[in-house]
């Protein structure tokens, strides 16, 4: 679960990480009042969307007059913001954060993740702040420093020192303890809120050696939300694709893509591989859909419906390797879906495994029009024919 910048900064502020004064507004008429409370000029007006690359999409504006705060807010609120990380349709801006401008002397990058190969919470720090960290990593990886934290001992001061004193030149003495405190607090937030990412980019130093988190990204581990109930209140479903939201409700793993061949598969690995099969057949997958091992007839029906709601879909490939999910359950679900929604596109079905005979029988005896593929190779051929 992603948090908005303003939500993340709220957490930062409460944990002792300095953030600029700011206020989130949801209507243009709140903007004037905000300029009266927040010191400026300059002010920074920032679209609150989950998608990254906001700046490049025009979602961040630095302004110098109160009326500009209002016009900047107006130009963002309710608009579709297109960034390198959204599709061409962009995302709607529902909230805008208005902040005091901070005079920047130095910019750092600071983040915390769980490193997969060491299985340790890991802090990443760089003096190349304010840029895409992936670009820094590609261009000058020596600027990126990491500290792996042993969970048995937790964050220790030498971790911070290893990161800070490796900088050339090291941060000014007056700022060291503030930076160490930010690091310790990032670790604490990461561990206590079950984060998968805490990122501050840039973490800035002002000329008078104050430290501020100018941006804030916090992602929460979905699997830990059962013990982070108060964070659930911060969820913003408006940021999600409506079809993905619907799928979530039915416990279906659905991700919308840009192609035209829908896919319904059991198992994430097989679902990915099936998307790849579609691509190799010369088409493009319209979605990832893993119905999971324990899918019910009803879930299958919903899955078909969701795929069909995407108007770009020209054909559907159903690829089921029956294990726990029995082929007859799948077949019944598909038939039920056909009764509810007219299936307006060709259906290619490849069934294998548990109760495969019963499944094929059910499909055969239904009114449904569908193409049977005996194996994945044949399925690919059939997909190929649909797009040629």
């Amino acid at each position: 679960m992603k948090l908005h910048e303003y939500q993340a900064k709220d957490i930062f502020g409460k944990s002792g990480i300095p953030v600029p004064n700011g206020q989130v507004v949801t209507a243009v008429d709140q903007a004037t009042r905000a300029t009266q409370i927040i010191s400026g000029p300059p002010w920074v007006v920032k679209a609150q969307v989950h998608a990254g690359g906001r700046g490049k999409g025009g979602g961040v504006k630095v302004v110098h007059y109160p009326y500009e705060v209002v016009t900047a807010t107006e130009s963002l609120l309710g608009k579709h913001l297109v960034t390198p990380q959204t599709g061409p349709e962009g995302v709607t801006v529902n909230q805008v954060l208005i902040e005091e401008g901070i005079e920047i002397n130095r910019e750092y990058y600071l983040s915390m993740i769980v490193d997969r190969s060491t299985a340790c919470p890991t802090m990443i720090f760089s003096q190349a702040g304010g840029m895409e960290i992936e670009e820094v990593a590609a261009r000058s990886s020596e600027l990126i420093l990491k500290e792996h934290i042993d969970p048995a001992v937790g964050w220790m001061m030498h971790n911070a020192r290893n990161l800070l004193y490796s900088q050339e030149p090291p941060p000014p003495v007056g700022a060291l303890s503030a930076l160490m405190s930010v690091m310790a607090n990032v670790y604490k937030i990461f561990m206590t809120l079950d984060c998968t990412l805490v990122e501050i980019n840039p973490l800035v130093l002002t000329k008078d050696r104050k430290v501020f988190a100018l941006d804030a990204k916090v992602d929460i581990d979905d699997n830990a939300l059962f013990r982070q109930k108060e964070l659930l209140l911060l969820d913003d479903p408006r940021e999600k694709d409506p079809l993905e939201l619907m799928a979530e409700k039915y416990h279906l793993n659905y991700i919308r893509l840009d192609g035209n061949i829908g896919a319904m598969v059991n198992g994430a690995g097989l679902a990915m591989a099936t998307m790849d099969v579609i691509k190799m057949a010369g088409a493009e997958p319209a979605n990832f859909l893993d119905v999971g091992g324990g899918a019910s007839e009803d879930m299958i029906t919903k899955g078909v419906e969701i795929i069909l709601k995407d108007r770009r879909v020209k054909a559907i490939l159903i690829n089921i390797f029956g294990g726990i999910l029995r082929c007859d359950v799948l077949a019944r679900g598909v038939v039920a879906a056909a009764k509810k929604t007219s299936i307006r596109v060709p259906l290619i079905v490849r069934l294998e495994g548990t109760n495969v005979k019963e499944g094929r029988e059910i499909l055969r005896n239904s009114d449904l029009k569908f193409l049977v593929a005996r194996d994945l190779g044949e399925a690919a051929d059939l997909v190929s024919k649909q797009v040629s």
């Binding site: 997969r116 990593a137 079950d194 059962f226 991700i255 998307m275 726990i324």
Partner: protein, 291 residues
């Protein structure tokens, strides 16, 4: 002709009284697995499918001499179950549970450094040595004993591959689903080392997917140390960056974990990478015939 689990394996099912635990206990028993005990705290003294249920792993070890556990407990309690089994000294711990918080797995990983237990999973189908024992949820009948090892991050995709292998006449020594989570107990390399020493294993099918760098690391290891044919398949060539593709671990992030990079690394290490899942079985057959 197998690694980690075989006829000697005595399984304890953790969470045996739950729906999934009970169902797969039955399935394992039908396959011939020795399920010697079950554990559900507070339900000691019962039986499930004729298997005695205990309150603690410790008791299951003392009373039934179990040496392998298979975990079906819900995510909030799964880390506790793993650590319990490890502290009790079980040889192999298979954790089927999907959805364990990452920070719980950080703790588990830290503890396992000091224990001798091998953790398979979590979020995996388990491990099977065909004809001997099955510890997990994979459909037993698609397997057959033989010379091929399978190591995979996926579930049904593995079944698909095993089905094709069996279809071409190639049986399996041991098939392991190492799990689809970002933090898992064992890597491709851990098992490649075991298969290297297993005289009956003649070749390995390695099934990777996007996310992390486990395949790249495996490629390095294979080039430098592994002496049997390896055929690889990587799922997720069409997966977009920044999205979790079903598995918690299947995500391209920070420019890392792309299928393309993995395929390149494997090929650069001289490993045959099957690009077409539909013909993977045939590809394996050809490679094995040549070797």
């Amino acid at each position: 002709m197998s690694i980690l689990v075989d006829e000697r394996t005595r399984v304890v099912v953790q969470g045996i009284t739950g729906r999934e635990g009970a169902f797969h206990t039955k399935q394992m028993l039908e396959y011939g697995t020795v399920v010697a005990a079950g554990v559900t705290p507070g339900k000691g003294g019962r039986e499930v499918e004729g298997v005695p249920v205990f309150n603690t792993i410790k008791q299951a070890v003392e009373e039934e001499g179990v040496n392998v556990s298979c975990i079906f407990v819900p995510p909030p309690f799964a880390a506790d179950a793993i650590i319990d089994s490890a502290s009790a000294g079980l040889e192999v711990i298979v954790c089927i549970t999907e959805g364990i918080p990452v920070l719980d797995m950080v703790k588990v990983a830290s503890l396992l450094k000091n224990e001798k237990s091998v953790l398979i999973g979590p979020n995996c189908p388990g491990i099977i040595s065909p004809g001997k024992t099955k510890v997990g949820i994979m459909p037993g009948p698609i397997h057959k004993p033989g010379p091929m090892a399978v190591i995979s991050r996926s579930g049904t995709l593995t079944y698909e591959v095993v089905y094709q292998l069996t279809g071409t006449g190639l049986g399996q020594s041991t098939c392991i689903g190492i799990g689809g989570d970002p933090l898992i107990g064992t890597t491709f390399i851990d098992h490649l080392k075991r298969f290297k020493e297993d005289p009956e294993t003649e070749g390995v099918v390695l099934i990777g997917e996007i996310g992390g760098t486990a395949e790249e690391e495996a490629a390095d290891y294979i080039r430098e140390e592994f002496n049997k044919p390896v055929i690889a398949f990587i799922a997720g060539q069409t997966a977009p960056p920044g999205r979790r593709m079903g598995h918690a671990g299947a995500i391209i992030s920070g420019g890392q974990g792309k299928a393309e990079d993995k395929i390149n690394a494997l090929q650069a290490a001289g490993i045959r990478v099957a690009l077409n899942l539909g013909t993977l079985g045939e590809t394996v057959q050809k490679v094995m015939e040549k070797s």
